[in-house]
Symmetry: C2
Subunit: 607 residues, 2 copies
């Protein structure tokens, strides 16, 4: 309890909720790291596909980058419309639900959930790998380091949104400044200096393994699509912004897209101009930083900034996942607990669940990012497409001011992301995208199972419309299981006696001598209450008691049994080990029996 | 549950207890492996000390072995007297308790307990080491193999004494036959063949590191004393023998001692005659078996037999430890659970506790027997000495037939084992015996702490001698915490209403809309019972409820609170995750509050 307070702080009052809203500067830090961190690998993934057709094909990286830039532009404009239309937070789930219906909404939700977990696992693994590349001695501890990072982020998020925003804002801006410097200085260099000798970078020369087909170019585009993952995060979290929420969120979205686009295009341009080849032991960004800054401190600043950004990208998912889970929970598709605000006005359960699954994934794949990356973008693009399609449907149905212009914007969005989804799914299906489709199906079945359970419960506990009360049990037998005659038992007996009825004390005979003693004491202290002595051939006190209770219940379907347990509670917790855990086991065994009411009469020891 | 049945069998009736007695043949197998397995290392330990004074000193092994033989003889005769005098089982604890008083009894008990755990850990580690020496590929798995062996022995013992006896009898006798063959054939060989060339066995020649002093000879005697560990096991388990228990136990004791003495003296004699030197990579027994049987199957039979015997020695502790623990529990020095017979008429808890501690020791010391062996014999000899001293006191007090003769026997026993204890303690103190003394102290403090707790409990729950009943609470307020109005709540309300009194439904307001709805429904269904709506600034339903209850309790020290919890129980266990765990948390929080009676009114869902 004390530890909890120390780690996540004192509870906040519900009335403090509105103060927990984010300024644009802090919101940018929280919500943008996911999208912007992709520049660390976006260009590299494009090059990795193109190189298959030889070094000459690398010049295609520029048109492909422009295609990605177009995607960023389309997404920014169409998501601005969503942000204004859904000021309460317009995640793909909400947009699809309100416009397309339940099924597409669940598909979007499942796809997003998977992607949030993957974002955390992939980003943490990549960030830790970056650290361990810099300090090879830490390589043996990468799994533990990754888990530690997750635990750290979980705790920060449990402290509440504003505090985690403040905590993460400084390093995020540090990363953005270092990457910004790299792109600005590097790009200026490309115009004023001649590109470095190709020779040192073209050994071994890239031999063509495939010919440069349209399909290969599409594959490189699909690979580059990982750059735009995370762009939807702001639209999920509009509610976290300060008033006016939508306007602030839309402005932040434009900032984010501008930064993302500039960094991405700058890196692609530099990579093309410097004739950079993807290497297995050095990232493209690291190569660029080396060329621009040599081995000066600025080089290390860029590397550290990249690492930080990747780890903070994981943090961004901790803002999105709990919101989505709470939306699902409110609709009955997830356990109700996911919709409950914790002590610090955050959806604590969602944060913890995300942390657990991401940690599990990290351990299962032993921190191997390469195995996870093919699964990564598909979920996001499915939800992009469903959001945009939902908006198209919305304008067609709702119309309103300028609906035609808005329809065109979201129509282009839906078309573009739909095509991208098809490209990604078809080029990545066998590499792992099938797992995502399988998981989406499983999650949808789970969502629907949970809701049908909640519906069944609601029906079963619903009150009678005509006001008829359910019948009361006709007969109630009160049993007091005793292990001897003492003050605790006397208290339970007196408590039971205060209501007239069929009261019986029950003693299980495991030792004839002991039984005789109990009978004599009962005659003196039992107040005329019947003492039932049960035989116990197998020495199981619990078993004999339960057999007896079951016998009573079976004899008459209208009889209820109230078990009054005289419970001796030690003064200190560790003393519990010195007492037979019979009361606890009895309660556990009887809780799931129908027609049995349990009553605990405590007797607290003082020493 | 099914797994439990499959592993340890169906429960046995108490009346089947007498059938679970052991025949002498099976008792010998169970109780003797501990003592007899010591021949695997007894001679070797003597030689390991003597070699410090050079190879010439090895001839002292014969007189030292005779000293050990004398110890075996003394122990056999004096323990026979204990077996007859204590047919209920005369462990050192019982003997010391009835004759010397509580303190010495607790010392003996603590010493024995430590020794049982050490026996299991050391024997299993040594047995596994023997296997891994034969099959080096298994070396990497030695810890797992050791734990597996412990789990296996635990399960066998939980099945019950007779079955584990049967299970272990065949391999025990196999081991005894192989070792017997080795000793018989090897000893005969020493008379009819000239000893093998010394040269091959004296490289490198043993250089003297110390001079042959009396102290060194005493040290070699102390080292050899490990041979007699385990001789007390039969006296602890007299009750497990068939009628007449004492006579059968005494006969088995003589058999055991004869086998032990013959094997030990045979091995010492052969080692002396064949000029065997202790080697780090081959045991003395293995060297003897090589010389006698070459590399024939009989050599491997001896090696396998030795391993089996070492592992079964561990099993022997599983017969002794639970008996001792149950004796202590009956006197209130250990938790009561240790005195309860399990399903299969064995002290299941004692078996499990021994298994856990031995496993822990094995893991802590990574299966390194050498670190544990110095701790090993001291506990046994402390208990030997206390037993014998107790018997001396007994004859002096009780007298009876032939008491003078018996006094002399146990007097010699006490004197001999006392001297041996002093020798062991003084020569091994710094090597680890101090840990044993420390642990004995800690255990005694624990024993006394447990008993004083039980005594305090007995006093606190004791009935008034004059027959006065403790006063009943003057006022009882019934609270029904509700989260809404439904059939489960209605049932709880009707249950509470059946006893007149101050009844209040309590609802925690976390959402004003919801509260308004509940108030309207309550007006219709509440039967006039007061509805208390509690504010909840921190959104904690549990916290607000508990604050309210504490307020009531503090206002009036004579008021009790009965909390009637309407609990919705799902049809399937996994559905529990879908319901707020509030009922469970409320019960956990209230259980340890004074003056609070908990009543669970269940509402079972059917789907």
């Amino acid at each position: 309890m004390f530890l909890k307070r120390w780690l996540i702080g004192n509870p906040l009052k519900t009335t403090q909720a509105s103060h927990e809203r984010l300024s644009k500067t802090i919101a940018l830090a929280i919500f943008s790291s996911n999208a912007i961190s992709s520049v660390a690998y976006g260009t590299e993934e494009i090059l990795l596909v193109l190189i298959l057709a030889g070094t000459a094909a690398l010049s295609w990286s520029i048109p492909v980058s422009f295609a990605i830039l177009f995607l960023v532009l389309v997404l920014t404009i169409s998501y601005r419309q969503i942000i204004y239309e859904y000021p309460e937070g317009g995640g793909a789930y909400i947009v699809a639900k309100t416009n397309l219906g339940e099924r597409p909404a669940l598909v979007a939700a499942a796809a997003l959930m998977i992607d949030y977990v993957l974002t955390v696992a992939v980003s943490i693994a990549a960030g830790v790998a970056a650290i361990t590349s810099a300090i090879p001695d830490l390589f043996a501890y990468r799994e533990s380091l990754g888990l530690l990072a997750i635990v750290f982020i979980v705790i920060m998020n449990l402290r509440g949104v504003r505090e985690s925003g403040r905590f993460f804002a400084i390093p995020t801006y540090f990363s953005l400044v270092t990457l910004g410097l790299l792109v600005i200085i590097g790009t200026i260099n490309t115009f004023f200096t001649s590109p470095p000798s190709l020779v040192s970078y073209l050994e071994p020369p890239g031999k063509a393994m495939e010919s440069l087909t349209l399909f290969l170019i599409l594959r490189s585009f699909a690979a580059g699509c990982s750059t735009v993952t995370g762009m939807e995060v702001i639209s999920n979290g509009v509610k976290s912004f300060r008033h006016p929420e939508s306007k602030n969120a839309a402005i932040t979205m434009v900032w984010m897209s501008t930064i993302l686009a500039s960094l991405f295009m700058g890196i692609s341009w530099m990579a093309y101009n410097y004739h950079i080849l993807p290497k297995s032991d050095e990232t493209v960004v690291s190569q660029l930083a080396h060329l621009t800054f040599g081995t000066s401190p600025l080089y290390y600043a860029v590397q550290i900034g990249t690492m930080i950004l990747l780890i903070l990208a994981a943090n961004s998912a901790f803002a999105g996942f709990p919101h989505l889970a709470s939306n699902l929970a409110r609709d009955g598709f997830m356990p109700h607990q996911m919709a409950t605000f914790g002590d610090r006005l955050v959806f604590s359960n969602g944060i913890i669940v995300l942390g657990l699954f991401a940690g599990l994934l990290l351990v299962t794949f032993e921190g191997n990012t390469h195995a996870l990356i093919p699964l990564y973008a598909i979920g996001v693009f499915i939800s992009f497409t469903l959001s945009q399609a939902g908006m198209v449907k919305r304008w067609l149905t709702k119309k309103g001011a300028h609906w035609r212009k808005k329809l065109v914007v979201n129509g282009i969005g839906a078309f573009t992301t739909g095509i991208a989804s098809l490209i990604i799914a078809s080029t990545k299906f066998l590499q792992g995208a099938w797992i995502v489709f399988l998981l989406i199906t499983i999650l949808i079945v789970m969502f629907q199972g949970i809701r049908s359970h909640y519906r069944a419960v609601t029906e079963q506990i619903a009150l009678d419309r005509r006001g008829a009360r359910p019948p009361l049990p006709q007969r109630n037998i009160v049993l007091i299981p005793i292990g001897g005659v003492n003050r605790a038992v006397i208290r339970a007996v007196d408590f039971a006696r205060s209501r007239p009825g069929d009261i019986r004390a029950v003693f299980v005979d495991t030792d004839p001598e002991e039984s005789a003693k109990v009978k004599i004491l009962w005659a003196q202290w039992g107040c005329g209450i019947n003492l039932i002595v049960l035989p116990s051939p197998y020495r199981s006190v619990l078993g004999s008691l339960i057999d007896y209770i079951e016998e009573i219940l079976e004899k008459d379907r209208d009889t209820w049994v109230t078990v009054v347990i005289p419970e001796i509670l030690p003064a200190r917790w560790w003393q519990n080990i010195l007492h037979n855990q019979r009361a606890l086991m009895l309660k556990a065994a009887l809780l799931f029996k129908e027609r049995v009411v349990l009553t605990d009469v405590p007797f607290h020891l003082t020493r």
